[in-house]
Amino acid sequence: MERDPLSNGLSLIEDEQIIEPVPFDFGLKRRTFVQIVTTGLMIAAAPISALAQQRGGGQRGGGAETRPVSARIHIGRDGNVTVLTGKVEMGQGARAEFTQAAAEELRLRVEQIQVVLSDTDLVPNDGLTAGSRSTPSTVPLIRQAAAAAREALLTLAAQRWSVEPSAIELREGKLTHTATKRTLTFGELAQSEELPKASEQPAPTDAKLTATRDWKIMGNSVLRPNARDLVTGAHRYASDIKRPGMLRGKILRPPSYGAKLVSVDLAPAKEMKDVIVVRDGDFIGVCAPTTHLAQLALEAIAKTAKWESVPHPASKDVYDYLRERVSGGVPKNEFADELAAAKHKLRATYHTAYIQHAPMETRVAVAEWQDGKLTVWTGTQNPFGYRSELARAFRLSEDKVRVIVPDTGGGFGGKHTGEAAIETARLAQAAGKPVSLKWTREEEFTWASFRPAAVMDAEASLDENGKLSSWYFININAGGSAVDAPYRTGKKNNRSVNSQPPLRHGSYRALASTANNFARECFMDELANAAGADPLEFRLAHLDSGRLRDVLEAAAKRFNWTERVKQKTRNRGFGLACGTEKGSYVAACAEVEIDRERKRIIPRRVCQAYECGAIINPDNLRAQVEGCILMGLGPALREAMQFENGRMQNASFGDYEVPRFTDLPELDIHLLNRTDLDSVGGSETPIIAVAPAIGNAVFQATGVRLREMPLRLPEKMPS
């Protein structure tokens, strides 16, 4: 088999996000019989002509605002201010940031703002919450709308008092004419006829935004507004939603990728009291009042199921598999002249394994049908994309589908496609009752999406001065994020090429830039070594002045790189790496300890400098940077999906080892606050430097060059 048949090969890349929906075509080409066992009711859906295949996913987040102010900012008659956006909160801190943006421009306290996120019936479509777009795209839209609202309020008050708007002070929801001390509140103005009228106008883009130097709320560490609900357990994630009469669902999964159902006996489950069995071709699910009963029913069915398996490659062969299937073959290095004239030339191949996002909250949905309208509560980064997927799957117009996304239990680029929502809605439709479906951890590890594995070929030449004269870099399978070297490389060819992946792909924090940066930064170290240069000096010699150089120098200085690398302690090593992606800049220095006995690489210290323009929320940014570094330790040192014969071999937290408390190295984080620059998102790029810094430190400690993530020491180590 060339490809997981669950995927139709429709791998969409929007804003560089990988959106690979599971195709559902139930009821489109054939008659559909959905059997509801307990009631005996048969629903027959008439066949309709196949819908034109549409693209999935959301629209690019951002761009010019064409919506009226009222689509984003609502000022209630009680004076309460509500901000509306289609972005989601999944731990990255968007809710606080949006609150800050509106509070800053409306001169309110953060407590006076309520932010409504991602209810498709209420909020504007702001596209995916991905690609670090909330900060550079959505924050400015909210600020524009809030600034426009502020100007409208000032103008109204000025008219009432027949004074100039500039004579009015605006603070914490109160407008004061400073000369006469007359006051009006937001609520009083909202009760007038003029304000609602004004807020139906498109948000003017020329309302003056508060200059960074004048920020009072942005630029400060505002807490997440619903933090208290997180520590009391009161916050309701999608998995916590309960609807009247709701049942719990389970889906029959194939035992291996691509396996076809040959036969199954539903009778044992049908005989179980209170169990509803749903079958539609190969789609088989059960619903019951409790998860336990649904699980028993599912097991009763699974025992009877006969499957026909298909070949599927093993993870141990995956790099060859991908290389052999590059469409059009791997491009050749055409810089033969430079290679021939080179003082040094180097060629190396790097690999990164398939890994998974594994958010704490697995895929989940609650679906409820009422009067032909479908409401789904789910955890996703793509609420409007889910709405489109659901509308297509059930042949509804989009206004008949409502997707509500409570603040979600982690995403990391892994929740872009709506298969769990569609499954749940199918069960709910058949059962005639609301259904909650929560994937098990094993289902998540098997049937969710994966960060692409990569094979990367790098070749470069150095002239007699130790400078790069040519550079060739090809990424097979993982994508083109940050594939371009940020260095002066002489002639260059940086490309990503596609293959035929054996697993369903999903985005991940920083996408392919982690793979590309790993290979490039390790390769730069190899080149520095060939040139007899210090890794820091070698990089600086190939970097123009600018933001990347700034973070590299900052990290090296804070780490005391120049002195430290002179220390020669057995089984201790130092490495560094840097990179840029999504408009922000990162550099890391790592110190590792080598445990030769147990073949372990132990990061002891990571010093990282990071710069993403003007910092909006320092504490939150620091938490994101720390989280990225630590999350990055997983794929750097241990995480890799292992599969064989179409089955995941390590589909549990016991076998797939994510970072833990005891992995925590000493962290030394330096945030460079560039208040002269626009703010960009900081929840992804800080992940890309840690793995190569560690790999380079291992080389410095042992002389062993590791070229695969996860980094593993060889059986035989040089002494």
Binding site: M90, G91, Q92, G93, L223, R224, A227, R228, L230, V231, T232, G233, A234, H235, R236, Y237, S239, D240, K242, R248, T290, T291, H292, L293, H357, A358, P359, M360, E361, T362, D407, T408, G409, G410, F412, K438, T440, R441, D619, N620, A623, E626, G627, C628, I629, L630, M631, S652, F653, G654, V658, P659, R660, F661, T662, L664, L667
Partner: protein, 156 residues
């Protein structure tokens, strides 16, 4: 199959009539609407489902309901009294020890149990004891700060 099981839940006597083989996690969430206790893995590997049973931290995803008959169970909802947060909850708030927050109720209960048994734990004891709690946002540094914060308060 169904049995009537009695236990103390967050200080109140509770009676549930159901299949005693069901996991405690499921009964708390589905029958008793206490959804602060989370499913993370279903096999005792991540700690998101941690509750206290007679004061000890227990993974409710692998404990049967029948096994807690007659015992005292505390969930995250029962930790704060009359709207006043438990000191460990206060510490998590003060140190912003949350990102997506999904692992936090289990973390908090794991730490409450540790501090009740050992009010003055060493850093190593804290890390090794908490090591069975996973946070995929990897917000460990702030959680460690919260743990130290709470431990320092417990020492007073």
């Amino acid at each position: 199959m169904d049995q009537t099981i009695n236990f103390m839940l967050n200080g109140q006597p509770k009676t549930v009539t159901t299949d005693p083989a069901r996991r405690l996690l499921e009964v708390l969430r589905e029958d008793l609407d206490l959804t602060g206790t989370k499913y993370g893995c279903g096999e005792s590997e991540c700690g998101a489902c941690t509750v206290l049973v007679d004061g000890a931290a227990v993974r409710s995803c692998v404990r049967s309901l029948g096994s807690v008959a007659g015992k005292k169970i505390t969930t995250i909802e029962g930790l704060s009294l009359d709207g006043k947060l438990h000191p460990v909850q206060e510490a998590f708030l003060a140190e912003q020890a949350y990102q997506c927050g999904y692992c936090i109720p289990g973390m908090i209960l794991g730490l409450v149990s540790l501090l009740e048994r050992k009010p003055v734990p060493s850093d190593d004891e804290i890390l090794s004891r908490m090591d069975g709690h996973l946070c995929r946002c990897c917000g460990y540094p702030n959680i460690v700060k919260a743990i130290r914060h709470a431990a320092a308060q417990a020492r007073r």
